[in-house]
Protein backbone atom coordinates (compact mmCIF):
# COMPACT_ATOMS: atom_id res chain seq x y z
CA UNK A 1 0.00 0.00 0.00
CA UNK A 2 1.27 3.44 -0.86
CA UNK A 3 2.49 5.89 1.70
CA UNK A 4 3.98 9.27 1.05
CA UNK A 5 7.77 9.42 1.16
CA UNK A 6 9.67 10.78 4.10
CA UNK A 7 10.77 14.28 3.11
CA UNK A 8 13.54 16.01 5.02
CA UNK A 9 14.47 19.37 3.54
CA UNK A 10 15.30 18.76 -0.11
CA UNK A 11 15.74 15.01 0.35
CA UNK A 12 13.19 12.17 -0.05
CA UNK A 13 13.37 8.65 1.32
CA UNK A 14 11.51 5.37 0.92
CA UNK A 15 12.43 4.01 4.33
CA UNK A 16 11.50 5.67 7.61
CA UNK A 17 14.33 3.99 9.46
CA UNK A 18 17.69 5.73 9.85
CA UNK A 19 20.46 3.47 11.09
CA UNK A 20 23.90 4.07 12.61
CA UNK A 21 27.36 2.76 11.83
CA UNK A 22 28.79 2.65 15.38
CA UNK A 23 29.56 -0.22 17.73
CA UNK A 24 29.35 -3.09 15.20
CA UNK A 25 31.67 -6.06 15.78
CA UNK A 26 33.00 -5.63 12.24
CA UNK A 27 32.24 -3.98 8.92
CA UNK A 28 30.85 -7.17 7.37
CA UNK A 29 28.12 -7.48 10.02
CA UNK A 30 27.40 -3.76 9.72
CA UNK A 31 26.98 -3.99 5.97
CA UNK A 32 24.63 -6.96 6.21
CA UNK A 33 22.65 -5.27 8.99
CA UNK A 34 22.30 -2.16 6.84
CA UNK A 35 20.98 -4.27 3.97
CA UNK A 36 18.52 -6.08 6.24
CA UNK A 37 17.28 -2.79 7.71
CA UNK A 38 16.18 -1.43 4.33
CA UNK A 39 17.32 2.00 5.56
CA UNK A 40 18.34 4.54 3.00
CA UNK A 41 20.04 6.87 5.44
CA UNK A 42 23.02 5.95 7.64
CA UNK A 43 24.65 8.14 10.28
CA UNK A 44 28.40 8.54 10.69
CA UNK A 45 30.66 10.43 13.10
CA UNK A 46 33.64 12.72 12.41
CA UNK A 47 36.77 12.12 14.45
CA UNK A 48 40.44 13.01 14.59
CA UNK A 49 42.56 10.67 12.48
CA UNK A 50 44.27 8.12 14.69
CA UNK A 51 47.93 8.22 13.57
CA UNK A 52 49.02 5.35 15.81
CA UNK A 53 46.57 2.82 14.41
CA UNK A 54 44.85 4.18 11.32
CA UNK A 55 41.28 2.90 10.97
CA UNK A 56 40.05 1.31 7.80
CA UNK A 57 37.92 3.73 5.80
CA UNK A 58 34.30 3.25 6.92
CA UNK A 59 33.00 4.76 3.69
CA UNK A 60 34.28 1.73 1.77
CA UNK A 61 31.70 -0.33 3.63
CA UNK A 62 28.64 1.79 2.96
CA UNK A 63 26.67 1.23 -0.22
CA UNK A 64 26.51 4.86 -1.30
CA UNK A 65 24.22 4.04 -4.22
CA UNK A 66 21.56 2.80 -1.83
CA UNK A 67 22.17 4.85 1.28
CA UNK A 68 22.73 8.52 1.94
CA UNK A 69 25.24 9.43 4.61
CA UNK A 70 24.12 11.67 7.47
CA UNK A 71 27.09 13.00 9.45
CA UNK A 72 26.55 13.72 13.13
CA UNK A 73 28.20 16.05 15.61
CA UNK A 74 28.11 13.46 18.39
CA UNK A 75 30.47 14.06 21.27
CA UNK A 76 30.45 17.84 20.87
CA UNK A 77 29.86 19.80 24.08
CA UNK A 78 29.65 23.33 22.68
CA UNK A 79 28.00 25.04 19.72
CA UNK A 80 31.46 25.93 18.42
CA UNK A 81 32.64 22.31 18.38
CA UNK A 82 29.45 21.24 16.61
CA UNK A 83 29.71 23.99 14.00
CA UNK A 84 33.34 23.10 13.26
CA UNK A 85 32.47 19.40 13.05
CA UNK A 86 29.62 20.06 10.59
CA UNK A 87 31.91 22.16 8.39
CA UNK A 88 34.57 19.43 8.45
CA UNK A 89 31.94 16.85 7.48
CA UNK A 90 30.96 18.91 4.46
CA UNK A 91 34.64 19.26 3.61
CA UNK A 92 34.92 15.47 3.64
CA UNK A 93 32.54 15.46 0.71
CA UNK A 94 29.52 14.33 2.72
CA UNK A 95 26.08 15.77 1.92
CA UNK A 96 25.48 19.19 3.49
CA UNK A 97 23.03 18.00 6.09
CA UNK A 98 23.83 17.10 9.66
CA UNK A 99 22.40 15.37 12.68
CA UNK A 100 23.16 18.21 15.05
CA UNK A 101 24.00 16.97 18.50
CA UNK A 102 25.46 18.98 21.37
CA UNK A 103 25.74 17.04 24.59
CA UNK A 104 25.32 18.71 27.98
CA UNK A 105 26.07 15.89 30.40
CA UNK A 106 28.60 13.09 30.18
CA UNK A 107 26.70 10.46 32.14
CA UNK A 108 23.26 10.80 30.61
CA UNK A 109 24.39 12.21 27.22
CA UNK A 110 21.36 14.48 27.45
CA UNK A 111 21.39 17.21 24.81
CA UNK A 112 22.23 20.84 25.59
CA UNK A 113 19.35 22.40 23.67
CA UNK A 114 20.59 25.95 24.15
CA UNK A 115 23.96 25.21 22.53
CA UNK A 116 22.31 23.04 19.86
CA UNK A 117 20.01 25.91 18.90
CA UNK A 118 22.95 28.31 18.73
CA UNK A 119 24.80 25.95 16.39
CA UNK A 120 21.65 25.33 14.31
CA UNK A 121 21.19 29.03 13.61
CA UNK A 122 24.78 29.44 12.37
CA UNK A 123 24.76 26.30 10.23
CA UNK A 124 21.35 27.03 8.67
CA UNK A 125 22.72 30.41 7.52
CA UNK A 126 25.61 28.51 5.92
CA UNK A 127 23.19 26.40 3.90
CA UNK A 128 23.19 23.21 5.95
CA UNK A 129 20.06 21.09 6.32
CA UNK A 130 19.80 20.65 10.07
CA UNK A 131 18.29 17.75 12.01
CA UNK A 132 18.70 18.61 15.68
CA UNK A 133 18.82 15.95 18.35
CA UNK A 134 16.78 17.32 21.25
CA UNK A 135 15.01 16.52 24.49
CA UNK A 136 11.38 15.47 24.15
CA UNK A 137 10.42 19.09 24.74
CA UNK A 138 7.74 20.78 22.64
CA UNK A 139 9.11 24.26 23.38
CA UNK A 140 12.55 23.52 21.99
CA UNK A 141 11.05 21.54 19.11
CA UNK A 142 9.21 24.75 18.15
CA UNK A 143 12.34 26.86 18.56
CA UNK A 144 14.30 24.55 16.26
CA UNK A 145 11.51 24.64 13.71
CA UNK A 146 11.32 28.45 13.86
CA UNK A 147 15.08 28.60 13.37
CA UNK A 148 14.66 26.64 10.12
CA UNK A 149 15.50 23.07 11.14
CA UNK A 150 14.40 20.54 8.50
CA UNK A 151 13.29 18.05 11.15
CA UNK A 152 13.32 17.65 14.91
CA UNK A 153 14.71 14.54 16.56
CA UNK A 154 13.50 14.10 20.14
CA UNK A 155 15.00 11.32 22.19
CA UNK A 156 12.93 8.34 23.26
CA UNK A 157 15.37 7.66 26.10
CA UNK A 158 19.08 8.37 26.75
CA UNK A 159 21.47 7.41 23.92
CA UNK A 160 22.39 3.74 23.96
CA UNK A 161 20.16 3.03 26.98
CA UNK A 162 17.63 0.88 25.13
CA UNK A 163 14.89 2.03 27.51
CA UNK A 164 12.35 2.62 24.76
CA UNK A 165 9.97 5.57 24.51
CA UNK A 166 9.96 6.82 28.09
CA UNK A 167 7.50 9.64 27.60
CA UNK A 168 5.09 8.90 24.75
CA UNK A 169 2.92 11.88 25.75
CA UNK A 170 5.76 14.32 25.14
CA UNK A 171 6.49 12.77 21.74
CA UNK A 172 2.77 13.00 20.90
CA UNK A 173 2.66 16.66 21.91
CA UNK A 174 5.72 17.43 19.76
CA UNK A 175 4.06 15.60 16.85
CA UNK A 176 0.81 17.55 17.22
CA UNK A 177 2.68 20.84 17.04
CA UNK A 178 5.40 20.18 14.50
CA UNK A 179 5.18 21.05 10.82
CA UNK A 180 8.54 19.45 10.03
CA UNK A 181 9.21 15.70 10.26
CA UNK A 182 9.69 14.34 13.77
CA UNK A 183 12.20 11.52 14.03
CA UNK A 184 12.53 9.68 17.30
CA UNK A 185 16.25 9.39 17.93
CA UNK A 186 17.87 7.39 20.72
CA UNK A 187 16.58 4.91 23.25
CA UNK A 188 15.13 2.32 20.87
CA UNK A 189 16.16 -1.06 22.33
CA UNK A 190 13.95 -3.51 20.52
CA UNK A 191 11.40 -3.74 17.74
CA UNK A 192 8.35 -2.83 19.83
CA UNK A 193 10.02 0.45 20.86
CA UNK A 194 10.32 1.44 17.21
CA UNK A 195 6.72 0.41 16.60
CA UNK A 196 5.48 2.50 19.52
CA UNK A 197 7.30 5.56 18.16
CA UNK A 198 5.75 5.06 14.73
CA UNK A 199 2.27 4.33 16.12
CA UNK A 200 2.41 7.66 17.92
CA UNK A 201 2.79 9.21 14.47
CA UNK A 202 6.54 9.79 14.33
CA UNK A 203 7.81 10.32 10.78
CA UNK A 204 10.81 8.11 11.35
CA UNK A 205 13.10 6.40 13.82
CA UNK A 206 16.88 6.74 14.14
CA UNK A 207 18.73 4.01 15.99
CA UNK A 208 22.18 2.48 16.31
CA UNK A 209 22.93 0.54 19.50
CA UNK A 210 19.70 -1.50 19.49
CA UNK A 211 20.86 -3.18 16.28
CA UNK A 212 24.65 -2.99 16.56
CA UNK A 213 24.82 -4.58 20.00
CA UNK A 214 21.99 -7.11 19.58
CA UNK A 215 23.17 -10.73 19.74
CA UNK A 216 22.29 -11.04 16.07
CA UNK A 217 22.49 -7.53 14.59
CA UNK A 218 21.38 -8.63 11.11
CA UNK A 219 18.20 -10.23 12.42
CA UNK A 220 17.52 -7.25 14.68
CA UNK A 221 17.98 -4.92 11.72
CA UNK A 222 15.28 -6.85 9.87
CA UNK A 223 13.06 -6.75 12.97
CA UNK A 224 13.49 -2.96 13.16
CA UNK A 225 12.61 -2.58 9.48
CA UNK A 226 9.38 -4.52 9.99
CA UNK A 227 8.67 -2.73 13.28
CA UNK A 228 8.93 0.70 11.68
CA UNK A 229 6.73 -0.40 8.77
CA UNK A 230 4.18 -2.00 11.12
CA UNK A 231 4.05 1.04 13.34
CA UNK A 232 3.62 3.33 10.37
CA UNK A 233 0.81 1.22 8.91
CA UNK A 234 -0.92 0.97 12.27
CA UNK A 235 -0.73 4.75 12.64
CA UNK A 236 -2.14 5.33 9.15
CA UNK A 237 -4.80 2.65 9.64
CA UNK A 238 -5.99 4.28 12.89
CA UNK A 239 -6.26 2.24 16.04
CA UNK A 240 -9.55 1.55 17.78
CA UNK A 241 -10.23 3.46 20.97
CA UNK A 242 -9.41 1.66 24.21
CA UNK A 243 -12.53 0.63 26.14
CA UNK A 244 -12.92 -0.54 29.70
CA UNK A 245 -15.36 -3.39 28.89
CA UNK A 246 -15.40 -6.17 26.32
CA UNK A 247 -17.11 -6.02 22.94
CA UNK A 248 -17.72 -9.45 21.39
CA UNK A 249 -16.12 -10.07 18.02
CA UNK A 250 -18.45 -13.00 17.14
CA UNK A 251 -22.25 -12.57 16.72
CA UNK A 252 -24.15 -12.57 19.99
CA UNK A 253 -27.22 -14.11 18.24
CA UNK A 254 -27.53 -17.77 17.25
CA UNK A 255 -25.29 -19.39 19.78
CA UNK A 256 -26.10 -23.11 20.36
CA UNK A 257 -27.83 -23.50 23.73
Amino acid sequence: MNDEKLKIGKFEFNSRLIIGTGKYANFDIMKKAHEASGADVVTVAIRRVNFDSPDENLLNHIDKNKMMILPNTAGCYTAEEAIRTARLARELGLPDWVKLEVIGDQKTLMPDNEETLKAAKVLIKEGFTILPYTNDDVVYAKKFEEAGAAAVMPLGAPIGSGQGILNPSNIKIILENAKVPVIVDAGVGTASDATIAMELGADGVLLNTGVALAKDPIRMAKAMKLAVESGRDAFLAGRIPKKLYASASSPIEGVVR
Partner: protein, 65 residues
Protein backbone atom coordinates in the same frame (compact mmCIF):
# COMPACT_ATOMS: atom_id res chain seq x y z
CA UNK B 1 58.91 23.32 13.15
CA UNK B 2 56.46 22.57 15.94
CA UNK B 3 52.86 21.88 15.00
CA UNK B 4 49.94 20.91 17.22
CA UNK B 5 48.14 18.19 15.31
CA UNK B 6 44.97 16.73 16.75
CA UNK B 7 45.88 18.06 20.16
CA UNK B 8 49.42 16.66 20.19
CA UNK B 9 52.70 18.45 19.57
CA UNK B 10 54.62 17.16 16.60
CA UNK B 11 58.04 18.16 15.29
CA UNK B 12 57.92 18.11 11.48
CA UNK B 13 59.51 19.93 8.56
CA UNK B 14 56.59 20.56 6.22
CA UNK B 15 56.04 23.77 4.36
CA UNK B 16 52.49 23.20 3.25
CA UNK B 17 49.40 21.25 4.27
CA UNK B 18 49.84 18.82 1.38
CA UNK B 19 53.44 18.06 2.47
CA UNK B 20 52.21 17.34 5.97
CA UNK B 21 49.52 14.95 4.75
CA UNK B 22 52.13 13.16 2.64
CA UNK B 23 54.53 12.95 5.58
CA UNK B 24 51.75 11.46 7.70
CA UNK B 25 50.91 9.03 4.85
CA UNK B 26 47.29 10.15 4.77
CA UNK B 27 44.93 9.72 1.86
CA UNK B 28 44.01 13.33 1.01
CA UNK B 29 40.57 12.31 -0.22
CA UNK B 30 39.68 10.67 3.09
CA UNK B 31 40.51 13.55 5.43
CA UNK B 32 39.41 17.11 6.13
CA UNK B 33 41.75 19.71 7.59
CA UNK B 34 41.24 22.66 9.90
CA UNK B 35 44.08 25.15 10.47
CA UNK B 36 43.73 27.37 13.55
CA UNK B 37 39.98 26.61 13.56
CA UNK B 38 39.49 27.54 9.89
CA UNK B 39 38.73 24.98 7.21
CA UNK B 40 41.45 24.39 4.63
CA UNK B 41 39.60 23.47 1.45
CA UNK B 42 40.94 20.47 -0.41
CA UNK B 43 41.92 22.58 -3.40
CA UNK B 44 44.08 24.73 -1.09
CA UNK B 45 46.10 21.87 0.48
CA UNK B 46 48.94 22.59 -1.95
CA UNK B 47 49.16 26.32 -1.36
CA UNK B 48 48.38 26.65 2.36
CA UNK B 49 51.62 27.36 4.22
CA UNK B 50 52.31 26.07 7.71
CA UNK B 51 53.95 28.11 10.44
CA UNK B 52 55.47 27.30 13.80
CA UNK B 53 52.84 26.57 16.48
CA UNK B 54 50.00 26.22 13.97
CA UNK B 55 47.12 24.15 15.32
CA UNK B 56 45.68 21.57 12.98
CA UNK B 57 42.75 19.21 13.16
CA UNK B 58 42.84 16.34 10.70
CA UNK B 59 39.62 14.36 10.74
CA UNK B 60 37.96 11.46 8.97
CA UNK B 61 34.69 9.54 8.97
CA UNK B 62 34.13 6.87 11.63
CA UNK B 63 31.19 4.81 12.85
CA UNK B 64 28.54 6.61 14.86
CA UNK B 65 24.83 6.88 15.64
Amino acid sequence: MKLIINGKEKEVECKRVSDLLDTLSLNKDAVAVELNKNIVHRENFDNTKLRDNNKLEIVTVVGGG
